[in-house]
Amino acid sequence: MKSKRFSLNNADKATSEQIFKDFPTDWDMSKTFHKSYKKYLSAMKTCENISDETAAESMSVEVLQPKRSIIGFVFKIVPIVGCTALFVFMFKGMFFSDNGNDDTPDTVDKPPVVSEADRSNSAETKVSASTTELISSTTETKSTETQTAKTTDKKATDTTANPTETVKTEITAETTQVTEPENEETVAVTEPPQETENNIPETTQTVPTTEPSLPNEENKTVAFEELLAMADDELMKYCEDNSYSFTSQEQIRNELKSGGKFFIRIKPEQYLIDGIDDICVSENISDIKQYNAHEYDFDKMIAELNLPEKYFTVNVDSTPFMVCSELQFYENGDIKPYFLKLANLSVNVNPEYAESEELYRLYQLINILPQINSNFHSISVQYGGR
């Protein structure tokens, strides 16, 4: 992988230590910090989503708790029923008062006839009486149906006195009644209608969602030809933006000079033919079969590599799978190896582009395009053999 040019990378330990000492790595690494912090935030976000979900569950239990008590429910529902009835009567009264003339349609009962004197007397006094009664009956929360009936009856008669005024005062009375001092009442008003609805959105809101990442969507819009035409800097930026690893043309040149062959390694689970099971990850290497290519849909796998046939040839070798070992680090400090089955696909740029100026760019794209595939594992460059 490395260049065979002048290099100090294989310097002995003592010299390396001296270099580290004399030339410390204290250049600006703010980009690296941002990467770390972003990773940290995304990890924390996942944790928060989980804790929010559990919090929402416990909240929904709390909300449900009072509803289990029938008495509590009755106490909450009665004032609401009362208020609703009151409201209906009030509007009915308003309706009557508005239409309390000869034009009143036959379908509507006519309001009780009240004399002019009565109207003038009762205009303010009765209204205030009815409203105070209303307030007292509702604020006590023990308003029984009989009490509300009384007040509503009164109103039905009183509203006729001075329609506009009564309507105004009664509406304010009612609003104070609902919102004023009793938190219990406001809860009672707001809760029951949401009995079923209230819980559902809360939990659904807190379910962690996997937002589709923007860069991946961008990828789909960047055409292959565009990538081919990009300047090296642009391609590097594209890779940075999408968190893809970037291989420089210089590296590619060295790899090709050294006779390197490019292999794309893909996690094969998703390409198993329907109805067939296979072990792809195991702590025991003997669990992993390496010669069951017929159980996998390699055509689909190759198609999803996003490498246009015009430029590339992808081959499935006689040994299509390889086993790679990785280490699992546990929080308690344990390290355990496990084995991963990977499909190993060799990729070449078509020979007609061998002399082309785009040759190295095409090889660069071998390293970039397969990364769009979620099953992508790695690219390997192998020298000699195979």
């Binding site: 992988m1 990378n9 010299t15 600006d28 912090y37 970037f246 070992s325």
Partner: protein, 188 residues
């Protein structure tokens, strides 16, 4: 900034605190990482590895006992770097030699080893004799595998100047080495 100050800063403002923690330990972590992966990895691999290490430290920061922050960071850095080294060697099909796995006993050619040490020691002295900023450029380019653009930022020159200076410095180095030949110096 010591560990307690970093902890206090993190309590006040998490991002600022973590930034300071990063600045305080970036050299330490990068050195550990680069020491492990330099024979196989690129500067990008090292930076990726460093970012993984710090993300891990940030995530578990609250669990780190007081007074053991540096040790914790060092342990995470070593483990992650070894893991990255193994991944890189698996990717490249590279078989590690005995220097990188000293636990594996092998026949040791003492004379060859001595010559290697002497060679790199003299080479390093020759690089130092180039003077600044050339020696910094050469070290950053050929030891840390950094790009000219990045080197330019750290030495305060234009990337093109860095490239030109690097080429000239190599010429001078070649001349110095041909005037004072050292064994195994034929690969420049």
């Amino acid at each position: 900034m010591n560990e307690n100050e970093i902890r206090m800063l993190i309590c006040k403002s998490q991002e600022d605190g973590f930034r300071n923690l990063f600045q305080e330990y970036q050299r330490y972590v990068y050195t550990i990482v680069w020491d492990k992966i330099k024979s196989l990895g690129t500067a990008e691999d090292a930076e990726e590895c460093v970012s993984d290490i710090f993300a891990e430290v940030f995530i578990h920061f609250e669990d780190i006992n007081e007074g053991s922050l540096k040790a914790y960071i060092g342990t995470i850095a070593k483990r992650t770097a070894i893991h990255r080294y193994r991944t890189l060697s698996a990717k490249s099909g590279y078989i590690a030699d005995s220097d990188e796995f000293p636990d594996i006993p092998d026949e040791v050619d003492i004379q060859k080893e001595f010559e290697e040490k002497e060679y790199y020691k003299k080479l390093y002295q020759c690089i130092l004799s180039l003077g600044e900023p050339d020696s910094s450029i050469i070290i950053q380019k050929y030891f840390y595998n950094r790009k000219s653009a990045d080197i330019a930022e750290s030495v305060g020159l234009l990337p093109i100047t860095v490239r030109v200076r690097a080429a000239r410095a190599l010429k001078r180095l070649r001349k110095i080495l041909s005037d004072n030949p050292i064994k195994r110096g034929d690969n420049l």
